[in-house]
């Protein structure tokens, strides 16, 4: 086992704080809002309104659950199209009520299943990518565990993307990559290394702005520090003229791979 794959395992660990842990650790007055107003409610995406440092925000989190039962109930944190549509509905609401959006991302990827395909998984993700690019309110995305491909990106078209030190962000799972390229899923550790999926790699290549240390992960001090950093960054973004903020958001992605 190599260091990259150890990070993959740490990012997926059951005991790792999940989306709801972050919401409760960072926010007060959280009130969950359900449903995409089109078809259903996706339990893998938890969203609602809350206060961060006393100020209203919209918070959207992928929730994996801790126990086997919770994980089943949350579809292992793999969102359905309804999850992405609920997220977009509440992001538009955030725009209307002029509050910032915090996205907390922790997913192996969007659900792959017959129903998800028939209800337009691809279209749902595509719509979020397009709409988030011009959402007229600040967006910060935190990748706290797994940042799995398009299913993660659909909640990470943001002004700032921060990653936990042992989180991963990848175009494909190392297992998927190994089985496609080398017809052997057991070569996942090798793929993990080649995919450059650690937070350090993402920072080095300019895909994220910040990595967050996690020696006190899940502790009060951890959330307190993160809360301070988020509050400060939201204040920076709030002070920006909207057009400038949107231009910078566009440039943020525009420069990647040119």
């Amino acid at each position: 086992m190599n260091a990259a794959y150890e990070t993959v395992r740490a990012a997926r660990a059951n005991r790792r704080p999940t989306g709801l842990d972050y919401i409760h650790g960072l926010c007060t007055d959280f009130f969950e809002l359900h449903g995409d107003r089109r078809y259903g409610d996706d339990s893998a995406v938890v969203a609602g309104v809350a206060r961060l440092g006393g100020k209203p925000i919209t918070v959207i989190a992928v929730e994996k659950g801790h126990t086997a039962q919770e994980r089943m109930a949350r579809s292992f944190g793999m969102p359905q199209p309804e999850g992405y549509r609920k997220a977009l509905r509440l992001m538009r609401q955030a725009e209307k009520f002029r509050r910032p959006v915090l996205c907390i991302v922790d997913t192996a990827g969007a659900t792959c299943g017959v129903g998800a395909e028939e209800r337009g998984q691809g279209a749902a993700i595509a719509e979020n990518l397009m709409e988030m690019m011009t959402l007229r309110t600040p967006v910060i995305s935190l990748i706290i565990g797994e940042g799995g491909s398009g299913g993660a990106l659909a909640l990470a078209v943001a002004d700032r993307v921060w990653m936990l030190e042992k989180a991963i962000y990848s175009v494909i799972s190392p297992e998927g990559c190994a089985s496609i390229l080398w017809k052997d899923a057991s070569k996942a550790p090798e793929a993990a290394e080649q995919l450059k999926l650690t937070a350090g790699d993402a920072l080095r290549f300019g895909f994220i702005e910040r990595t967050l240390p996690e020696e006190d992960l899940g502790k009060e001090s951890f959330y307190a520090r993160l809360k301070t950093e988020l509050t400060a960054e939201f204040a920076v973004l709030a002070a920006m003229d909207t057009e400038t903020m949107l231009e910078e958001r566009y440039r943020r992605f525009r420069k990647m791979g040119r």
Binding site: L129, G150, S170, L195, F207, F253, G257, R258
Partner: protein, 288 residues
């Protein structure tokens, strides 16, 4: 002769694409391709004359340049951004060599061809993806070319017509490839916000990160008959759910039923349908 075959049999030389529909003698048989749908051998010359569509209606895969030829007015194409080349940003094992081989075999430099053109006289920006270049997978160069095309179209106030074919993001480029989904979507959004028209034609296969970005972002989404269109791979879904997939799953036809494409248009009618839509969508409406 089975009834359906009788129905679709060319009635005259013109329908057969200018070639005699009389059976060829065994000794003068020309090379054939077997149609995976009707299982009959189709002489190559007839296939070419018929835009690579079998008499039974099966659409064979075609490369980006032949597709462009079917779609746009002769001599109207100005290719753009071909100087944008992909690299190997992660130094991924085997990728550099694979790129080189693909380039020499496909005689294309990347998996998308971009430019400006006219379709029945309607000026537009156009891109066609190349199935014979790593199955149209999207790396940084593909994303950059498409982004530039949308930026140029926004600046020149041109509609965009795009033909998609893709296995998805090109995993050998890691996050560089994933981020092209956001980058292209941003450019599509700016083009859209400028009030300009974007039409996509989904061809076989359109999957993964391309489906989950610019393929599904058209104002009008057309699809070629029988094309595979979806997000997750069918085999992956079957393995994950351990259930047989429904009949016709992830085809243009099922996408139409579920409301994700506007119309299915056979290859022979694509040019005229797209031209018609370009005319309607670029004409000023009644409102000032």
């Amino acid at each position: 002769m089975p009834f359906l075959e009788f129905l679709f049999q060319p009635k005259n030389e013109l329908e057969a694409g200018g070639h005699s529909s009389a059976p060829v003698q065994a000794d003068e048989r020309e090379p054939e391709k077997t149609c995976p749908n009707c299982h009959r051998g189709v002489p190559l010359s007839r296939l070419w004359a018929n835009q690579n569509v079998c008499a039974c209606g099966y659409h064979f895969r075609i490369g980006g340049r032949p597709r462009l030829r079917h779609l746009i007015d002769r001599d109207s194409f100005t290719e753009l951004f071909s100087e944008i080349q992909g690299g190997d940003p992660l130094a991924f094992p085997g990728y550099g060599e694979k790129l080189e081989t693909t380039r020499s075999v496909s005689r294309e430099e990347e998996a998308v061809i971009c430019g400006t053109a006219a379709i029945e006289g309607q000026k537009c920006a156009v891109f066609v993806m190349e199935p014979y270049f790593m199955m149209g997978s999207m790396g940084a160069a593909v994303g950059e070319r498409i982004t530039r095309l949308f930026e140029l179209a926004t600046e020149r106030r041109l509609p965009v017509v795009g033909c998609t074919v893709s296995g998805g993001a090109r995993m050998q480029e890691g996050l560089f490839s994933l981020m092209q989904m956001a980058k292209t979507s941003g450019a599509v959004k700016r083009h859209s916000d400028a009030g300009l028209f974007y039409l996509t034609l989904l061809t076989d296969p359109t999957t993964g990160g391309v489906t989950a970005s610019f393929a599904m972002e058209g104002d009008v989404i057309l699809a070629e008959p029988g094309a595979t269109v979806g997000f997750a791979g069918a085999r992956v879904i079957e393995q994950t759910t351990r259930k047989p997939l429904p009949k016709g799953f992830q085809t243009s036809e099922s996408m139409l039923v579920h409301g994700f494409v506007d119309a299915i248009v056979p290859r022979a009618r694509q040019r005229s349908v797209i031209a018609q839509l370009l005319r309607i969508y670029t004409e000023k409406g009644v409102r000032p």
